[in-house]
């Protein structure tokens, strides 16, 4: 069971909301991973939908190249739509 692969678990808390990463677990196969996720992460009514994906299938950005990956965005304030005057009637912006 030490060889059981690691799975990442994503739970949607209610219809219309995004799936959100909630943690990881070990399971021998996809079906067991879903069952385990249901038992471990939704026992207190946390969700209505679960995704599981093997951790090895997730491609992550390299922390060592964070400078070139993320720094350039830091100085581009014009990419944020904060320069518009919004009428009061417009909500949820």
């Amino acid at each position: 069971m030490k060889k059981w692969p690691l799975w990442e678990v994503f739970v949607r808390s209610k219809a219309g909301i995004n799936h959100k990463h909630v943690g990881s677990l070990r399971a021998a196969d996809a079906e067991m991973a879903l069952n385990n996720a249901r038992d471990v992460y939704t026992r207190r009514n946390e969700g209505v939908s679960i995704w599981v994906v093997e951790s090895k299938d997730i491609v992550a950005s390299d922390p060592d190249i964070a400078d070139s990956f993320y720094e350039p965005a830091a100085s581009k304030v014009y990419r944020h739509p904060t320069f518009y005057d919004l009428p009061d009637e417009v909500k949820h912006m």
Binding site: M1, W4, L25, R26, A27, A28, D29, E31, M32, N35, N36, R38, D39, V40, R43
Partner: protein
């Protein structure tokens, strides 16, 4: 005169309570964290089903008793659970086999009860419990297949569990006096119908697991009339200790 409705409810309440207690013994000892949680979840589901049934049984009995009185203050011969559920946990394979043999019944029993019962309270309890039982069956069936088709070791262990437990598989579908009255009066199910559907579920999985196990062999009986294996006394001793040693204790 015997209150057969009470006996009928108690039979299944006791099944749920004793199996729940057995599963709770795995708490902190599961083979992996995730399965430890899975088994205690199922344990709590079954405890919930037992509570609803005891609550109703106490009402039907009409002696002013509570669900707690029924769970904690009856002795072994008053318990009407089938012997299957009191069998020890053994290894994980034995626990899975016992669970699978119970879940196949629990699902088909509740399903049938919802369809044919003329008792609103029993229908409501079955409705709530069926969803839980269906998940339990999914869980135990998948584990049956994993162990049965897994390694030589896991297959051997599951076969050993089958050798031990198959003679306890049928008691639950052999009608007691309470079962017969229930079916005739209309608040209960016809166990022949349950058996047909249940046997199908069991046979499919047994075949896929390539186990040498049959439902046609010798069957132990007696649990439904209060005759139990030696194991039940130990379960009750542990489960009831606090109320027996400190009557009326609350926390």
């Amino acid at each position: 005169m015997e209150n057969q409705l009470f006996n009928y409810i108690i039979q299944h309440a006791d099944n749920c309570l004793i199996l729940s207690h057995r599963l709770s013994e795995w708490c902190g000892h599961g083979p992996v964290l995730e399965q430890d949680i899975a088994m205690t979840n199922i344990s709590l589901d079954l405890l919930g089903q037992a509570r609803m049934l005891y609550d109703y049984a106490a009402k039907v009995q009409g002696e002013g008793k509570t669900e707690d009185d029924l769970a904690y203050l009856r002795d072994a011969w008053d318990f009407k659970n089938v012997q299957l559920v009191e069998m020890p946990n053994g290894d994980f394979g034995q626990t899975i086999m016992r669970q699978f043999l119970f879940d196949t019944f629990n699902v088909t029993f509740y399903r049938e009860l919802m369809e044919v019962s003329n008792d609103a309270e029993l229908i409501a309890i079955a409705d709530k419990s069926l969803k839980e039982a269906q998940y339990h069956l999914k869980w135990s069936s998948e584990w049956m297949l994993r162990l049965g088709q897994g390694t030589e070791e896991s297959h051997t262990r599951l076969q050993n569990a089958a050798n031990l437990l198959m003679p306890y598989a049928n008691e639950v579908v052999i009608p007691s006096e309470a079962d017969k009255v229930a079916a005739e009066t209309g608040y209960g199910v016809d166990l022949n119908n349950v058996k047909a559907e249940r046997d199908q579920l069991i046979k499919e999985v047994i075949t896929e697991c390539e186990l040498d196990a049959s439902l046609d062999g010798f069957s132990h009986t007696g649990g439904k009339t209060g005759t139990h294996t030696e194991h039940l006394g130990y379960v009750l001793a542990e489960m009831q200790f606090l109320q027996r040693a400190y009557p009326g204790l609350e926390w």
